[in-house]
Structures are given as structure tokens and as C-alpha cells.
Symmetry: C2
Subunit: 582 residues, 2 copies
């Protein structure tokens, strides 16, 4: 049952570093005709789903539609070579496209050449950062984005994206860097609504909701499996595109004020390096870092969820390299930042994809579409794309999570609510930066206060317990403080504070013992604190001892002068200390 899972540490087991960095060597070696059949079928279905998505997310990112197609070719091939998930479908996704629009929009006007090249540079920076984080094995840093913060950020982004697309549904102009200004701007232009556009947009939204809420149950009732019904529902946007494009062409809706996609170049992606402009890099490095982190966190949870279902494993550090390679590929082939998409990966998985080759086949499918089908998309109304975006992102909005989190933990609720409000009020960058900062500060605060307890002996035993919770025996001459965590710089000062408080409160005390059964590590800062504690207890006429120090910690202490200067002793067990000092 573990045969399918990738080895955890291939370098150590197989001796091949190459295999670790090129997972394709692993699954490629045993690639078979059967696997090919499964992968190809999944690729066809994902391609059909990806065409409208790639056009729509390019529009969301403020880029021409072909950028979406380009972002769905080479990046998929790069991920297939370097990624460790068998079923992750990489490409443009809603939240990253929004973040792209937000950061690049601050530098250049949408539609200009500067805008497009800034998006390429953003993808390059993000790719290089992901690569660096992966190579230096810093993937653990993503753990410090707490779940409530991510969940709040995704919800707020979904709301912003949906709001930003409403203007395309109404056929009006509107701009705003946050939700309030966007809505205000739309309210100001609502009189200019184009009814043809609105008819198409509203109709498209209604259709897509019907597919999701009405068609899927219907298909299931007709005997389709839930998976098949789901896949059919996910390809409904293609039908919508066909119908609305035909309508726009037939009725010449473009002459009635309906914005259409118009010319998409029928060409291979334009291979070129993005402009390496230092002042641009200075403006884009932070957004690139945020996009990298958010993209990685989202992608890795999808990948992990899907891998677990088949008892496969993914390797977060190598995933970073895979996503990094995908973004670098996007940057040299006319795309924009990409990552693993949730809905798309689930479809890929359900459609039976077995290896990352399915991604490469999808890329070929998109290439064929770009070369052959783009003329047919000339009359595609932008309102149709906006409708697909709105319906897709509303599933990201999970306001129920606020309620669930409130019930479980007020602190986590506060972090989530703050992230949502800040993202809505000040935009995605402020939202995610604050979210990360809040998560880390909360964590630092928690670890700066180690769990510790003053203990006494349970009469007639050798057990020591918290004096506030148990009936224990203590002595005026002795205070024993049990510390339940390793001692390191964040909690070192807390210990100094706690001990000076204890000594100030207990005038009769002559001996203080620090009981260390849970101390796995004492770092240089904590050693410095222990020395300071020893000195000030000495000035106060109190001896300082330790008990139950673990072997490795003791070995390390022996390399210092601390033990020579210690006014008390090191006791093997607390009961020995108690008998000697109480």
C-alpha cells in the first residue's frame, strides 16, 4: 500500500540527489500505456475547463486574454518536471491574479506594455523566491501563516474579486483600490449600465448557478455518478462561452456597447526575458514575496489533501521548487504568476490523472486551442468571463468560518476578522502582511511565556505537583519552580522576571531550585539568563540549584563556567534536592 508513495528522503535512501530535485525521474521511469490513457483523459477535461478560466483570470489580472493562455502552457510543463504532487493542476488562479492586478496596477496602467512586462517581472521574482525558499528548505516558514488568517484572506479576496467583476456585468467603468472605493465608484456610474451587457452577464451568472445547484442534482438523479456530474458541471462555462459568443456575433452586440474579447494573437508564446529594471524590482519584491507565500500555502494544501486520498506523499520543499520553476517558465513565455488551483486539481484528480504528465498534456491542449480556436473567441463577451469569475470565487467566500472560529477560540477569531476587515478596507497586500504579522506576533507572545509552576511534594511520595492544584508539602526555606519548556531566548527574560518575583514575595526563602525535567535545550541567551539569576540570587542571599537536568543539556553546561559559579548544586532528582534544602 505504500508502493505508490514517493520516497520521503530519496537522496538518503537512493543516494541520488538528482532524483530528489527531478521527481519526473521517479514516475517517468515506470510510465506505461495505461497511465498515459488515464492522464490523457484527465488532460482533455482539464483543458476544456482551463480555457475559459485562463482567459477570465488574465482579465482579472488586468492582462490581455492571451496572457492567460500562455500562463497555462510552459508553467504546466515546468511543474510536471519539478513538482511532487501527482495531480496538482497549475495555472492562473483567482487570488494570485487579484494580487497581480493589485501590485502591477500600482506601477502601470492596465493594457500598456509596461503593465504586461511588470507582470512578467513579478512572475520571475516570485519564481526565484519560491526556488530559493525551496533550495534553502525554508518551507517551514509558511507554517507561520495561521489557518484563520489564510481563511480570512481568501474570503476577503473572493469578495473583492466578485465586486471587481460586477462592472463587467453592468458594462460600466469603475475603479477602486479597496472594496468601499470600488463600490462607490460603481454606484457613481450605475446610470451608464449597458442593458445588452447586463442581460448577458446576469444570464450567464444565472446559468452557472443553475448548473451548480440544479443541473448537478438532476444529472445525479438521472444516474450519473457524483464525480461525473461534477465534471460536467465544471465544463459548463465552455458551453456558456459558445452560446454567448454566437449571440454576440449574430446580433453584432459589439456595436451595441458590449465589450468583447476581440483579437487574440494566434501564436506561440513570446519567449523573452522580462525587463530586469532595478527600480521595478524594488517596487515588486514585496508583492512577489506575498504572492509566493499565498500561492505556496494554497497549492500545498490542495496537493496534500489529494495526495493523502491515494496514500501518496508530497514534499513541501520540492513543491516550492516546482512552483518556482512554473513561475519562472511563466515569466519567460508571456504569462503571469501561477500556482496550483483548487477546483482544477480536484477535477484533474477525479478525472483520473495518475501522474504530472497530465499537466503536460493539458499544456499541449491549451497550445492547440491558442493556435486553432482563438479566432472563434473574437466575439466572446467580457461579461461572460466576469460571470465565470464571480461564480467561481463566491465558493471561496466562507463567512461561516467566522462563526465556527468564534465558537472555538476568540484569539483566532480576532486574527481572522482583522484579516478580513483589513483586506477589504485596505487591499490584499495590507491584508496579508498584517495577517502574517498578527500570526507571528501571537506566536511569539505565546512562546515568550513558558508554562511553569511552583511545586511541592505530595506527602509520603516522591512526586512533585503544582502547589495551586494539589495538596502538597512545601518549605519556607525552599522554592521549587518547575519549568515545562526548553529555555531559549524568547522565554529567558520571563524566567528572570518570574524568579525575582518569587524571591521578592517570599522573604524567608534561602534556596531556589529550578526543576528541569522538560528542558530539552538551553541556548546561549538562556544560559546568560541563568548566570544573571545565579548572580542576583547570590546578592539576595539565596542559593540557586537545578534538578533533573537531562543528559545532553548537562553535557553542554559542563563546557561553560556556569557550574563553577553556581551557588547551589545540580541534583539528579527533585526529591534529593528537597531532602537537602527544605
Amino acid at each position: 500500500m505504500t508502493t505508490e508513495s514517493l520516497p520521503r528522503r530519496p537522496a538518503a535512501k537512493g543516494g541520488s540527489t538528482l532524483r530528489r530535485y527531478l521527481p519526473i525521474l521517479d514516475w517517468g521511469a515506470s510510465y506505461s500505456r495505461t497511465l498515459f490513457g488515464h492522464d490523457l483523459l484527465a488532460a482533455v477535461i482539464v483543458t476544456v475547463m482551463l480555457i475559459p478560466q485562463s482567459l477570465a483570470y488574465a482579465m482579472l489580472a488586468g492582462l490581455p486574454p492571451e496572457a492567460g493562455l500562455y500562463a497555462s502552457m510552459l508553467p504546466l510543463v515546468a511543474y510536471a518536471i519539478f513538482g511532487t504532487s501527482r495531480t496538482l493542476a497549475v495555472g492562473p488562479v483567482a487570488v494570485v491574479s487579484l494580487m497581480t492586478a493589485s501590485s502591477v496596477g500600482a506601477i502601470a496602467a492596465s493594457g500598456t506594455a509596461d503593465y504586461a512586462s511588470a507582470a512578467l517581472l513579478l512572475a520571475l521574482l516570485s519564481g526565484l523566491m519560491l526556488l530559493a525558499i525551496g533550495l534553502f528548505r525554508l518551507g517551514f516558514l509558511a507554517n507561520f501563516l495561521s489557518h484563520p488568517v489564510i481563511s480570512g484572506f481568501i474570503t476577503a479576496s473572493g469578495i473583492i474579486i466578485a465586486a471587481s467583476q460586477l462592472k463587467h456585468i453592468l458594462g460600466i467603468q469603475a475603479q477602486g483600490s479597496n472594496l468601499a472605493s470600488l463600490l462607490a465608484s460603481m454606484a457613481g456610474h450605475i446610470g451608464e449600465t449597458n442593458l445588452w451587457t447586463f442581460a448577458i452577464g446576469a444570464g450567464a451568472i444565472a446559468f452557472l448557478f443553475w448548473v451548480r445547484l440544479g443541473l448537478k442534482p438532476l444529472l445525479t438523479a438521472w444516474g450519473a455518478s457524483p464525480r461525473a456530474a461534477d465534471i460536467v458541471a465544471k465544463t459548463a462555462p465552455v458551453l456558456l462561452i459558445l452560446v454567448t459568443t454566437a449571440l454576440a456575433w449574430w446580433f453584432h452586440l459589439d456595436q451595441r456597447g458590449v465589450h468583447i474579447v476581440a483579437e487574440i494573437p494566434q501564436a506561440l508564446p513570446p519567449f523573452a526575458l522580462p525587463p530586469l529594471d532595478l527600480s521595478l524590482i524594488e517596487q515588486l519584491w514585496l508583492p512577489a514575496l506575498l504572492i509566493s507565500i499565498i500561492g505556496f500555502v494554497e497549492s500545498v494544501s490542495v496537493a496534500q489533501t489529494l495526495a493523502a486520498k491515494r496514500r501518496q506523499r508530497i514534499h513541501p520543499d520540492q513543491e516550492l521548487i516546482g512552483l518556482g520553476a512554473a513561475n519562472i517558465a511563466a515569466s519567460v513565455s508571456g504569462g503571469f504568476p501561477v500556482t496550483g488551483g483548487f477546483a482544477r486539481s480536484v477535477v484533474n484528480f477525479d478525472a483520473g490523472a495518475e501522474t504530472p504528465a497530465a499537466g503536460a498534456f493539458t499544456a499541449i491542449g491549451i497550445l492547440v486551442a491558442a493556435l486553432l480556436l482563438t479566432p472563434f473567441l473574437y466575439y466572446l463577451p467580457q461579461a461572460t468571463l466576469a460571470a465565470t469569475i464571480i461564480v467561481a470565487v463566491l465558493s471561496l467566500v466562507d463567512l461561516g468560518a467566522l462563526k465556527r472560529t468564534w465558537a472555538y477560540s476568540r484569539a483566532d477569531f480576532a486574527a481572522m476578522a482583522a484579516t478580513i476587515l483589513l483586506t477589504l478596507g485596505f487591499g490584499v497586500e495590507v491584508g496579508v502582511v498584517t495577517g502574517v504579522a498578527v500570526s507571528i506576533v501571537l506566536h511569539l507572545w505565546r512562546t515568550s511565556r513558558p508554562h511553569c509552576a511552583v511545586v511541592g511534594v505530595i506527602p509520603g511520595t516522591e512526586h512533585f505537583r503544582n502547589i495551586n492544584r494539589h495538596e502538597v508539602e512545601t518549605s519556607d526555606r525552599l522554592i521549587t519552580l518547575r519549568i515545562d519548556e526548553s529555555l531559549y531566548f524568547p522565554n529567558a527574560r520571563f524566567l528572570e522576571d518570574r524568579i525575582s518575583e518569587l524571591v521578592a514575595e517570599n522573604p524567608k526563602v534561602e534556596n531556589l531550585v529550578l526543576m528541569c525535567p522538560a528542558v530539552n535545550h538551553i541556548d546561549a541567551s538562556a544560559l546568560e539568563s541563568l548566570e544573571a539569576i545565579n548572580r542576583s540570587l547570590k546578592d539576595a542571599g539565596v542559593t540557586f540549584s537545578l534538578s533533573e537536568v537531562k543528559g545532553p543539556v548537562m553535557d553542554r553546561l559542563k563546557r561553560t563556567h556556569f557550574l563553577d559559579e553556581l551557588t547551589g548544586k545540580i541534583y539528579r532528582s527533585q526529591i534529593e534536592a528537597y531532602r537537602a534544602l527544605a
Copy 2:
């Protein structure tokens, strides 16, 4: 013995919030003639020591000498009102002056009005930040600057400061943003050395070293107490100033190329708000934050060390408010950033200061000096001030710490060495930012890997121990993982990884128990992970149970759906779980 210590939580005990924020109400109420006598004597000695220091540190900060005097008046009064240390002597200090020169020097040329007003703004920003950190009780954040990083930073700063003053000793022009460029620039101009200047500078250094190394032992041998000898040695710079000023005046050395201090305005500090220029604020907020943190960390350790000697206590959050008030005072009275100084506080303590009133008296002493003595300082050679700086900062340089830290911990050594090299190579801001980042990343890395162990039962007992360290009994059907830390977002994913690894490695396993005797808290992210673990174990046909869950943790879990969905059970004790599942 605890009567002298300030109450720890006066608000809670005395019901007076005012007293918490105004420690002066505490000690001021019982102020007596005896205390006044002690404080006054200490103030006179500190004033004599502070006059040359304030002139010298103003020069180091790139400001005119009067700025140093102004920074030693009102800030001391503000700290006396708001600070909690009885003996801390606030004012300009070497490292903060260097940081001021480094950040303000990037904005304006030394000697211009823009330079001086940027220094005022820097003090204001730093004061407001300290105040905010104190009011929001975020002082714990300073704990995340590990000891090796601070120690390395101070050592490197001392080297840079000494090198930067060499040009004044030689009487040449030299500039450089890091040690290498500074030394290179000096080497290029060494031919322009002014011999008169060099004679004074080198003579002054030799004299000061003799005082430290020769005079102190001599005085002690003549029967002076070590404390008295130390105080005399600390006032030696004043003698040096008298002699070298007289020499410069007598021989008209200013006409022979010796730079002198020249006109110092004989005036009260210029009270005015610093310029509130937004673009300046944007450039200065980060340096201000760094200065705040470094200043606070340095000051609080001095204050804590001195307080412990007399069994007094300081309150870090209120200290932040005190230092914030001092910096705001500096900013509205023509000064620059200040903090508690080490050498000066020790002298204050040793000279018998009893309350912060000593600081206020020192301020009056400096005011008198500014009004009456400044004409006599006209001919004071800058080389004399440079010599006092060099001798003072060389005591900050502690390269031996590198060796001690290497012996104790390689990781801490790496952090220290990196901070030293980066500070020397790229300047103080890069050095301290990197140091903070390295400290925090190291901490995050450590806490993202909680201590945990697979355990088995010791035959014939109910005790469970690590299977790698003890002879224990286990079962193929059951894996028990004991987790030795609270579960929260930084380590939540690690747990998911570890469990999926265990299940992949043990094909026969049917039950997995997470033993939680040390889990004090499960946050929302970790709950999410437990749910994910439960789901993927279910897909893999393994039940998931918990054992020895603490009461408060259990209460919280009961508010969620987790217990309903759990495939296994919650066992009160691990032995029950073992008997049921093994």
C-alpha cells in the same frame, strides 16, 4: 527586604492606574532630605562625566556639540517622571548615536539644518514607538533579539565607532558607510595627517588608557576604595578637556589646522516641534524602530542588573514609556535619540543615587554648564572628544564572546558571527535587521518542530516511554505518538507530516493514538490539522484516538464537531487506550 521594591502590579493592588504610569508618585511621596543628599552627590559626579560624553556623542551623531547638552537635559527629567529604574542614567549613548549618524546621514549632509531637524524627527518617531510598544505591552517583542545577536551587534558597532573617530585623531577627512570603505578612505587621506591634531589625539588616548589601566590600580594601592577609584577614573576626561583646551588656546592650535569645537550657543534648549514631513517619516521610521529596540534592550538590561543588586524591580513595559517620554522630550528640545547608558548608570549607582531625582539634578547640572561653561569650551579640540569616544567604545568590543559562544553552541555562534560580519560589512541597519531576522527565523524553525516520540509500555507497568530509548512493549496494530508541546499553527503541519510518515512506514497499523499529556492548548489551525489527520487516516483505514487530554483542552474540543467525526475515542489514560487497541 521587599519594602524598597516597587509594587509589581500597582493598578491591581492599589487600584491606581495613575501610579502605574507615573512611578514618580511612588518614590516622590516619601522623598526625604537624606535621599536628596545622596541623589545630589551622585548627580554632581554624573554631570562631570556627562559633559564630555554629551559633546562627544553629539559629534559622533554628526550634530553640533550643543545638541549633546540639550539631549542631556529635558530627557533626563522626563525619564525621572516616567521611568521605573531608580538608578538608570539616561542620555546620549555611543551605539544609538552611531545609528543616528548612519540613518540621518543617508538623508542630509552633516552640519546642515536639515540634518539637525531629521535627528529631531528621528527622536520623536523613536519616542512615539517606544511609548506605543509600552502602552500596548509589546515589550516582550524585545526578547526576540537573542543575546548573541545583541552582543555581536554591540561589538561590531564599537569597532565601527572607534574606526570612525580615527579621522579626528589624524585630522583628516574620511567617509564610508561600512568599515572597509571607511578604512580605505582613511588610507587615501593619511598623507594629510595634521601632526598637531595627531599629537593631541594620540596623547589623549594614551592618557585615558593610563587612567584606566594605571591610575585605578594606583589609587586602590593608595587606599581608595575600588568604587571611588572607578569614579575618579570616569571623571578623568574632564581633566583631559581642561588641559587640551588650554593647550589649544595658548598655542593657537586652531590656526595650525587643529579642528576645535568653537562657538557653542550659551542658551536654553530651543523648544520646537520637529518637522512632520511625511516623506522624511517614510525614510526614518525603520531606523527609528531599530534605534528604539536596540536602545530599549540595552537600557533594560542595565536597569535590571542594577535593580537586582538592591532587590528592587523594574517594569519593562513602564520602562518603554519612560524611554519614550525621554526621546519625545529630546525631540522638542533640540536633542537626538537617547537611552539608558551603561557606564553612566553604573557611576550613578556607585555614587549612591537613590531615586530618579538624581537624573533630574543631573539635568540641572548640564543646564548650568550650558549657560556658564560653554565659552570655556571654545578651544576644545575635536581630537580630545574623539579620544574619549574611542576609549569608551573599545570596552564594548567583546571578541572573547565569540569564543565562549562557539564552545557552547554552534547555532548561537553562527548568529553572532553573522551579525558582526554584516554590521561591519554593510552598516548598522543591515546588521541589526539581519540579526533580528535570524533570531526570529531560528526561533520559528525550532518551534515548528515540536518534540514528540513514539512510545510503548514498559512491561508490567502503566508507564509509556520512547521506543528508541527504552525496552518497551509495542503492537503492530497500534502506534502511539506522544506530543510534548501545545499544538498551534507553527507545528500543526509538522504533526500531519509525522503521522502520515508513521502510517506509510507501518503497513499493519490499524489504530493511531495521539498522547497529549503535555498539550496545554490546541488552536484553530491545529484543530484543522487534527481534522485533516482524522480524515486521511479514515481513508487509509486507521482509527484516530487521543489519550490523556487535559480538561481545558477537552472543554474546548467539545464545542466543535471534531469529537463527532473522530474515528476513534478519547481515552482518559494511555493504558486504557493500549488495552483497548493493541
